[in-house]
């Protein structure tokens, strides 16, 4: 397949072969079809955006990828293998991390502890050695803390390291959530509306972090976003959904000139 070959983008990033492929996914809640027969792929190292009007099924799609929903029809292929139905934690263990549209952090815990929870996947020591804090547990904690500190530095949240998350403003919570997802060293990072409810400056910061993350760690990023300007600037390829169907797929420019997409956003009468 031609899409399997790596290529280099205009700004010098290497996009690898397909890591994840959605094949004819259909998701139903009782009689309601949230997603109808959607196929698309995510390639290694790219920033893939999913856009669409409200209720288009974007978050459901992300939930299918993260294993939270199991589609009634269709297959999810991950790293060349068909993925059987899995629990979300098993998906996470495979290296898929995510952030949530409505922030899901441990409010009473400090930022540092929250980000440390993202390292669970890397902790191998048992309950007993954790409890007596000797040997493997101690060593692991130090290693993981070092990694987490790098992420804290990367996302510039040093000043709130010890602050309980509940006291933070919204924009910072989003950043902490991103830090936690990043701490898991994911191969695919799913971001559900990372910029919702942010002001221009916060959006600029967040865009910078997303680009830097992709650039520094080579993380593949799949994001849902409403801000068209941001999507068009950030992403390599865009999937457009409307009423659970895919109506467009391609580079930002292709999508922008797609008549169906324009109709979906500007609104025409549906038959």
């Amino acid at each position: 397949m031609s899409t399997q070959e790596s290529y280099v983008t205009e700004d010098g990033r290497t996009i690898g072969p397909t890591v994840m492929e959605m094949k004819n996914i259909t998701l139903r809640f009782g009689g309601v079809k949230a997603i109808t027969d959607i196929s698309f792929d995510i390639r290694e190292g790219e920033i893939r955006a999913i856009i669409g009007p409200n209720g288009a099924g974007k978050s459901s799609m992300l939930n299918v990828i993260s294993g939270f929903y199991v589609p009634q029809e269709g297959e999810v292929w991950y790293k060349g293998k068909k993925r059987p139905p899995m629990k979300p934690y098993q998906v996470a263990q495979q290296g898929i991390a995510r952030t949530f549209q409505n922030i899901a952090l441990f409010e009473g815990m400090s930022v540092l502890d929250n980000v440390m929870t993202g390292r669970i996947r890397q902790m191998k020591s048992g309950v007993f050695s954790q409890a007596i804090w000797k040997g493997r547990a101690e060593k692991e904690e130090v290693e993981n803390r070092e990694f987490v500190e790098k992420i804290i530095d990367f996302l510039e949240i040093q000043a709130i390291r010890k602050t309980p998350v509940g006291r933070l403003p919204y924009g910072l919570k989003k950043r902490v959530e991103l830090a936690r997802a990043l701490a898991a060293e994911p191969s695919i990072l799913l971001l559900d509306e990372p910029m919702a409810g942010m002001n221009v400056e916060e959006k600029e910061d967040m865009s910078r972090f997303i680009l830097d993350m992709n650039d520094e760690f080579g993380t593949t990023i799949t994001l849902i976003e409403h801000d068209m300007g941001v999507v068009m600037d950030l992403s390599d390829r865009v999937v457009v959904m409307d009423y659970g169907k895919k109506i467009g797929d391609g580079t930002p420019n292709e999508v922008r000139n797609n008549q169906e997409v324009i109709d979906a956003y500007l609104g025409v009468a549906h038959d």
Partner: protein
């Protein structure tokens, strides 16, 4: 030696000062570095918090780092006499870079890291810098934006590689890579480095610093090794600074003070310089380090005091009462019992035992005071319920009545130290401060008193970039809020007819770079430098008092003196008021613009159920205006007590709808108001204040942090303030 007034012999003395040679051949910072690397080899020289841990470099390691970088710079083609711009926040790497630049015969030029690209362009063009060492992508982008205008510019070195991979690296290098290249080329260039290093003399340029430019374009102040080393030496001796000091360097690197503290004195004394993790973590880093020698502008102390007061409002009733009880007492006793007596940064065993003893003195009474007051509060609460705070005043413990007079005061202060002063100082991060300075602007007497009464040896100094900081300083034990002290060691001062202050010292700058006219206008043939400030010496104490900028001191229409800063400072001492600008030169009466302090007024609004959505709305709230009016009238009353300045009372004022901001050009980067620009930009408002209108509608352009422009419009209420007849001091008494 200080000579005032200038005597006949002063001329010879001046020549003597100029011809004095470097002590022990230590004529440059690379030379000092070598001394420190042997003398203090394993002692920590620099610390930076990174990844949550304090990373340290000893003096020996510092030397290695600097040598590697210097070799790398030679490898890159740095020639003697080149200018190397240094742009970033305080980090050891930049301090290394400065001395590395000096080692290869180049001149470091630190630039404010928050300058806009335009400002940087002017500076880099003016000194025709060929190299720049910058912090991160943000700064790299700025320079790339202006690079096409800088024809001589060659290479850029960055420290933080983040986000830099996609850039064209033909003229862009990573700091650590340059060091690696330097280490690899050791054999090739070490001889060259040594010759260049040994060529440095006492009169070679040490650093070039651009003045913040309150008026016109920034000027490059050239400071020689003599200027910096002599100033560092004199000031270190004046305050008995030793190798055990710890300082936190967080003030802009482009500011002369930071260069003197973090490089000059640090190299001379061999003490440790600590760099915070990021500007936002500065407060917690300050607390972790607990500096023994500390510098901050008055604004910093103001903000901290405001924060303490706000947080005390939220504290429990017992804490609240004890805090006020002991702070009231400290106002009278702090100077006497609180000041740190040790002359060295690190206490020896004897001092430690003494400290433990002093703590024990207070601890017993502290327990008693806590218990007694808690019991009393319990009964007051029974009676008054939630109103207890109003009715409850803390009292001294009964046990203290055994003593009287100064013994009692001594014990009481020790007790206060256990309960209030000690913990508070620790929270502020000032618990170990032995010598603290504030300068740049006048500090409010209450603020100054607050810190001094806690037992923090906070002093004032008066200085300038052109003087390598020190002009006058306050010696221990002669500290007051309204003076700036006596002439610093080796500084001579004279005051001209018009009140302008002149000085000369070994620290006097060499010249303004490429600007002989300005040099001649500021420094005369005998080495006297005009400060541009007006002031006078107090006859009995010999301390200098500053009134205002000499050029800002003007005349009102009736011929009386117009000294805006004097009045503005009185206004700014109110926590509600962040900034004030007074107009009235050549006019019948004075008017003022006022900026409210959002955190103080916002807090007040919350407590008093005043709803507001924005700064603008809060600034225009009638209740806020009422409070500000009270302040203005109180200031008028106190101004009226000074017959010379009584004409400066504020007749009309308004509260500005936006905060004066450096991004809009209304202030300098060091946050000094640019009076002429403000007057011009808000001309409609000034006119409104003079033509007697009740309200003025205005539209103002603002610049956002990312450089985009917008505008805000507002309708402002102009108010009249009560003025007072002049009272002569005799009558008042």
């Amino acid at each position: 030696m200080a000579v005032w007034p200038v005597e006949a012999g002063a001329r010879e003395e001046y020549n003597l000062a100029q011809s004095s040679q470097a002590t022990g051949g230590l004529a440059s910072f690379p030379a000092l570095l070598q001394r420190n690397a042997t003398l203090f080899a394993e002692k920590t020289a620099y610390r930076e918090k990174e990844f949550g841990i304090w990373q340290t470099w000893t003096w020996a390691e510092t030397e290695k780092e600097i040598e590697a970088l210097a070799l790398g710079l030679i490898n890159l083609g740095v020639k003697e006499g080149d200018f190397i711009a240094i742009i970033g926040r305080n980090r050891p790497h930049f301090y290394f870079a400065m001395v590395a630049a000096q080692s290869v015969g180049a001149v470091p030029v630190p630039v404010y890291n928050d300058s806009a690209a335009e400002e940087m362009k002017y500076i880099l063009e003016h000194c025709s810098a060929r190299f720049a060492i910058v912090e991160d992508q943000e700064q790299v982008d700025k320079i790339i934006d202006i690079q096409e205008h800088l024809h001589q510019f060659k290479h850029m070195i960055y420290i933080d590689p983040r986000g830099m991979r996609k850039y064209d690296h033909s003229a862009l290098h990573e700091y650590s890579r340059i060091q690696d290249q330097g280490r690899a080329a050791y054999d090739e260039f070490i001889k060259e480095l040594k010759t260049r290093r040994e060529k440095l003399t006492y009169d070679d340029t040490c650093v070039m610093l651009y003045t913040s430019g309150t008026t016109g374009k920034p000027k490059g102040v050239v400071l020689s090794n003599r200027n910096v080393i002599e100033s560092a030496k004199n000031s270190a001796e004046f305050d008995n600074l030793g190798a055990d000091e710890e300082i936190l360097s967080y003030l802009p690197m482009a500011w002369v003070g930071d260069f003197i503290f973090s490089v000059g004195q640090a190299y001379w004394c061999g003490f440790c310089v600590n760099c915070p993790e990021s500007p936002e973590t500065m407060m917690s880093d300050l607390r972790e380090i607990g500096p023994t020698y500390y510098f901050a502008p008055p604004r910093f102390f103001e903000t901290q005091l405001t924060n303490v007061m706000i947080r005390m409002e939220d504290s429990g009733d017992l804490k609240y009462a004890l805090f006020h009880h002991f702070m009231d007492f400290a106002k009278t006793a702090g100077e006497k019992y609180g000041m740190p007596k040790r002359s060295l940064a690190k206490p020896d065993m004897k001092r430690r035992i003494k400290n433990a003893w002093r703590f024990a003195m207070g601890a017993g009474f502290a327990v008693e005071a806590l218990v007694e007051n808690a019991i009393r509060l319990f009964f007051v609460k029974l009676r008054h319920g939630k109103d207890a705070r109003k009715h409850f005043k803390a009292k001294d413990p009964i046990g203290l009545n055994l003593y009287s007079g100064s013994v009692r005061d001594y014990f009481k202060y020790r007790m206060g130290n256990v309960l209030v002063y000690g913990p508070l100082k620790d929270t502020l991060g000032l618990g170990r401060v032995r010598v603290g300075y504030t300068a740049g602007e006048a500090i409010g007497p209450e603020i100054f008193e607050f810190y001094r009464s806690l037992g923090i040896n906070l002093k004032q100094l008066y200085g300038q970039t052109e003087a390598t900081v020190f002009v006058t300083v306050q010696p221990d034990g002669e500290v007051r809020a309204d003076t700036v002290g006596v002439p610093a060691p080796d500084v001579e001062i004279k005051i001209e007819e018009n009140g302008e202050i002149y000085y000369r010292s070994p620290g006097v700058f060499v010249e303004y770079y490429n600007n002989p006219e300005s040099t001649a206008a500021t420094k005369d043939a005998e080495g006297w430098v005009a400060t541009g400030d007006a002031g006078f010496f107090e006859p009995d104490s010999g301390h200098l008092r500053i009134i205002d900028r000499a050029k800002d001191v003007g005349k009102m229409a009736d011929g009386s003196m117009f000294a805006p800063k004097y009045v503005e400072n009185k206004l700014k001492f109110y926590p509600d008021i962040l900034e004030a600008v007074l107009f009235g030169n050549g006019k019948e009466y004075c008017v003022a613009f006022i900026n409210i302090d959002l955190s103080a007024v916002g807090n007040w609004a919350e407590r008093n159920n005043v709803a507001y959505a924005s700064y603008q709305e809060l600034a225009g709230h009638p209740k806020v205006l009422d409070t500000i009016q009270e302040h203005v009238e109180a200031v008028n009353k106190s101004v009226a007590e000074d017959p010379m300045l009584s004409g400066c009372q504020i007749h009309r004022f308004l509260v500005l709808h936006k905060e004066l901001d450096a991004d809009d050009g209304e202030m300098t980067r060091t946050r000094k108001v640019r009076r002429a620009i403000v007057a011009d930009k808000f001309k409609d408002l000034v006119d409104g204040l003079y033509d007697g209108s009740e309200t003025v509608s205005t539209k103002t352009e603002v610049t956002y942090e990312d450089g985009r422009k917008g505008s805000i419009s507002a309708t402002l209420e102009l108010r009249d303030a009560k003025v007072f007849p002049t009272v002569s001091k005799v009558a008042a008494e």
